[in-house]
């Protein structure tokens, strides 16, 4: 970490940073440091709620160019100062927390849209762009990124790339790792590099995908080229209420295995249908709510919609019609605003994972059983948000309405639930996470997930970041 702020050495280093990026871009006031000490991870939120002092960065640095990022990283290497990249700070895994102090490298001033290539349908932008602002700029040019996560208003492009984010329409348009064409990256030692301009090639391993998902541990992504898409002529939704999650899952899996191309399928288990769908959409019914949508040319949308509805009808669900589907789409972000989102004093977490169709229900039941049997004070709910040709993503949650007040006691309880639930997922063919990332929250489980292969990741980390300055303490890489 940096020397104490009351030591002249702090001023020596701050002067060097200021020379590199400008006085206005090096801040250490209490307002900024507080904002950077808490992200969207429940743990620091709880810590703040219990009036415990957060661990702030020593300085917040806001470079405006990749060259300035490179200068900052070179200075950090010189003095071995931790550097934690920060985009929107809306990650739920603690990945952006400066847990060892040092520099919080805020990328939001890297916010220029460089080019919209209307021939190739790509957009090139700096990674500090707020995703909603980037989407609006893309729409103004007549296209869409088709990346519509709940955090679209909060997060930066770089944040999504850093933790392999996804959006509501991922089932057709892919996750961010499917959308990215190429990257500009500042390496931990301050070299600016570019990955290959196209994502499909036979020119060696895919360097772009080495950095995507690296959560700021291998460098700082400063520019990205993404695919963009025409605005579809039509987009339609339809909703059903199945008697239970199993029959709904059968319908969803058949839609995917027949290779229809829905933009989205979302399937809520019975408890979440009762708890959340009722609260947000005011649909107060027993069963499992499933909504799907298609977009594109209207006649093709209608054809796919008919075929998907016919698949669902085999399970004899209640047909809620198109309006219930449209209502869900119109309210897709409402779930994440207060008071609809879970919030303190509740203890809650999103136990998201992904598995094949052969495994995903086993994973669901293993996680649900381990939570409910070991933590009777917790409620377990879940939905399946992002679907693939081979499987689906489970967005499970646990909620404890009245957790212990003592911050250490509740932190231990919280971590115990995660440890047991995620390991239950891994034991049944799941993984640590599907689109929120690893961060601080789940780093300790990475060696269990990867086994001997984790050593390969660690050696890559050591080779690229020999001084270990980049986001220490995250992703299981230690310090």
């Amino acid at each position: 970490m940096l020397p104490q702020t009351n030591h002249y050495m702090f001023e020596m280093i701050r002067s060097e940073l200021s020379w590199a990026v400008g006085d206005d871009n090096v801040r250490d006031d209490d307002s900024d440091k507080l904002g950077h000490s808490i992200d969207y991870y429940w743990m620091p939120e709880m810590w703040h709620d219990r009036n415990q002092p957060p661990r702030p960065p020593d300085v917040v640095v806001t470079p405006e160019t990749a060259e300035a990022v490179a200068k900052v990283l070179k200075i950090a290497n010189t003095y071995k100062i931790p550097v934690t990249p920060w985009g929107g700070g809306s990650g739920s895994q603690g990945g952006a927390l400066p847990i060892y102090g040092g520099i919080s490298l805020d990328t939001k001033k890297l916010n220029r849209v460089i080019e919209v290539d209307e021939e190739s349908l790509t957009i090139t932008a700096e990674t500090g762009c707020n995703m909603q602002q980037l989407e609006w700029a893309t729409e103004k040019a007549g296209f869409s990124t088709m990346h519509f996560p709940a955090s679209i208003a909060c997060a930066t492009l770089g944040g999504f790339l850093a933790h392999r984010g996804t959006g509501v329409l991922s089932t057709k348009y892919g996750k961010i790792e499917d959308m990215v064409m190429s990257l500009e990256v500042v390496t931990p030692e301050g070299e600016i590099i570019n990955t290959l301009p196209v994502p499909r090639h036979a020119s060696g391993p895919d360097l772009t995908q080495v950095y995507v998902g690296s959560e700021g541990t291998l460098g700082v992504m400063t520019k990205a080229t993404l695919k963009i898409h025409p605005i579809p002529e039509s987009r339609k939704f339809h909703a059903f209420l199945f008697k239970d999650m199993h029959t709904a899952m059968a319908a969803g899996a058949e839609i995917m295995s027949t290779r229809l191309r829905p933009t989205v399928i979302r399937l809520y288990d019975e408890p979440e249908t009762a708890k959340v769908i009722k609260k947000v959409l005011d649909i107060d019914r027993q069963g499992s709510y499933l909504v799907f949508g298609f977009d594109g040319a209207e006649d093709m949308v209608d054809l796919e919609m008919r075929k998907a509805c016919a698949i669902c009808a085999k399970q004899d669900p209640e047909d809620l019609g198109t309006q219930a589907g449209e209502t869900w789409w119109d309210n897709r972000y409402k779930f994440f605003y207060p008071p609809y989102m879970f919030q303190l004093p509740q203890a809650f977490g999103t136990l998201d994972t992904v598995g094949t169709f052969a495994n995903i229900e086993k994973i669901y039941w293993a996680m649900k059983n381990v939570v409910e049997e070991n933590f009777p004070e917790a409620t377990f709910i879940g939905h399946f948000s992002h679907w693939y040709e081979w499987g689906a993503m489970l967005y499970a949650r646990f909620i404890i309405e009245e957790p212990p007040q003592d911050p250490h006691e509740v932190a231990a309880l919280y971590n115990r639930i995660w440890d047991m639930a995620i390991r239950a997922a891994i034991d049944n063919g799941g993984v640590i996470n599907e689109h929120h990332g690893v961060g601080l929250k789940l780093g300790r489980i990475m060696p269990d997930l990867y086994g001997p292969a984790f050593d390969v990741l660690k050696r890559i980390k050591t080779a690229l970041d020999p001084n270990g300055i980049m986001n220490p303490g995250k992703m299981g890489f230690g310090v």
């Binding site: 950077h36 969207y40 703040h48 707020n130 909060c154």
Partner: protein, 353 residues
């Protein structure tokens, strides 16, 4: 503490990022402290540790807020983050922690307070608020031209601050006194219809009068855009029908505080203006700090950044900008380089007579 009246907002906003993209200050500073979540986090710490109210960094952050209320407008639950910031400012002032620059500005508003009535005919009282309008006599002149064309007599009350500026700075007592004197002048005029060009003044008279101790029951209070639209639709005012493209910039006080979005556009449409959208979205405030009333005097550097952002978002430097806010007109016309072609909505109407 006044912030205790807003605990629901602190609880809701302290960990919520959902309106980050719309904070007028944060969109030029990019600071985490400058979004509603950042401010609510600070005030949550103050709630738990009242002595931290004296933290000068926290205090400055509260006064950096542009109070556009775009975030409240966006929030699906309409949590009143702007109200929370105003409460914090009141707490700061009452605790004797007012920063020097804020104190100096408030003192000057109090010292400059004056009311002046001109004209002596008609049932319409037009209020010109000099501190908010930064001079700009063209606006009152354009309103006068429209009224003359419609054959409607009116009186003018010129006042420095209706109390709104002092109120947003956190000086409740001084604001109430300025408001009382303003209301006395309004009442003394005997007019039953009050019209204001400045949306902050309109909001003060329409929205704050009761809170500041005045009783203005029975008065018909309108912004000029609504009033002039009435003249046009009643046939009293006829505009030339030649078409011209223009961009209308919403006022924070009209849109985000009073829900008035259609009337200005209808008025401009009736005057032959074909309106184009501005920027990339209809939610963001482009009013350059209007919600903080005297922000250009309090935070000139931030307002300069807001003006630069506005210019960057313009499709063409030749676009004609029409604003219902004299404050915004003033800021946009301060260009160092090629000036923005900006006129008030009153001028837009007068130009078509």
């Amino acid at each position: 503490m006044h912030i205790h009246d807003h605990l629901d907002t602190i609880d809701a906003c302290r960990f919520c990022f959902m309106c980050r993209h719309l904070d007028t200050t944060a969109n030029v500073t990019f600071r985490e402290a400058d979004i509603p979540r950042g401010r609510a986090l600070i005030l949550d710490r103050v709630r738990m540790n009242p002595e931290q109210l004296s933290n000068s960094d926290y205090i400055n952050t509260m006064y950096d807020c542009a109070l556009s209320a775009a975030c409240r407008q966006h929030c699906v639950s309409s949590y009143d983050e702007a109200g929370l910031v105003l409460a914090a400012r009141s707490d700061i002032v009452e605790a004797g922690l007012t920063p020097c620059d804020v104190k100096t500005l408030a003192d000057s508003l109090v010292a400059e307070f004056a009311t002046e009535m001109t004209g002596n005919a008609g049932d319409i009282l037009y209020i010109e608020t000099t501190a908010y309008q930064a001079g700009q006599p063209e606006i009152a002149a354009a309103f006068g031209k429209a009224m003359a064309a419609a054959g409607v007599a009116f009186r003018t009350l010129r006042v420095n601050d209706t109390g709104k500026a002092l109120a947003v700075l956190g000086f409740a007592d001084q604001a109430a006194e300025a408001a009382r004197q303003t209301w006395d002048a309004i009442t003394a005029s005997g007019c039953s219809t009050v019209v204001a060009s400045c949306p902050a003044t309109f909001d003060a008279i329409k929205g704050d009068s009761t809170g500041l101790g005045a009783a203005l029951d029975g008065l018909n209070i309108q912004h000029t855009s609504t009033y002039l639209l009435g003249l046009v639709t009643s046939g009293q005012l006829t505009a030339k029908a030649n078409r011209a493209e223009a961009i209308y910039i919403d006022s924070d006080f009209l849109r985000n505080y009073n829900g008035i979005t259609d009337e200005p556009r209808e008025l401009l449409g009736a005057c032959g203006y074909a309106l184009k959208p501005f920027g990339t979205n209809p939610e963001e405030s482009y009013a350059c700090g209007e919600g903080a009333v005297v922000f250009a005097r309090l935070r000139p550097r931030l307002v300069e950044l807001m003006r630069e952002r506005f210019v960057e978002l313009m499709d063409s430097p030749d676009d004609l900008i029409i604003t219902a806010s004299p404050y915004t007109r003033h800021v946009l016309s301060q260009s160092d380089g090629k000036p923005v072609r900006v006129i008030s909505i009153e001028e837009a109407v007068a130009n078509r007579l």
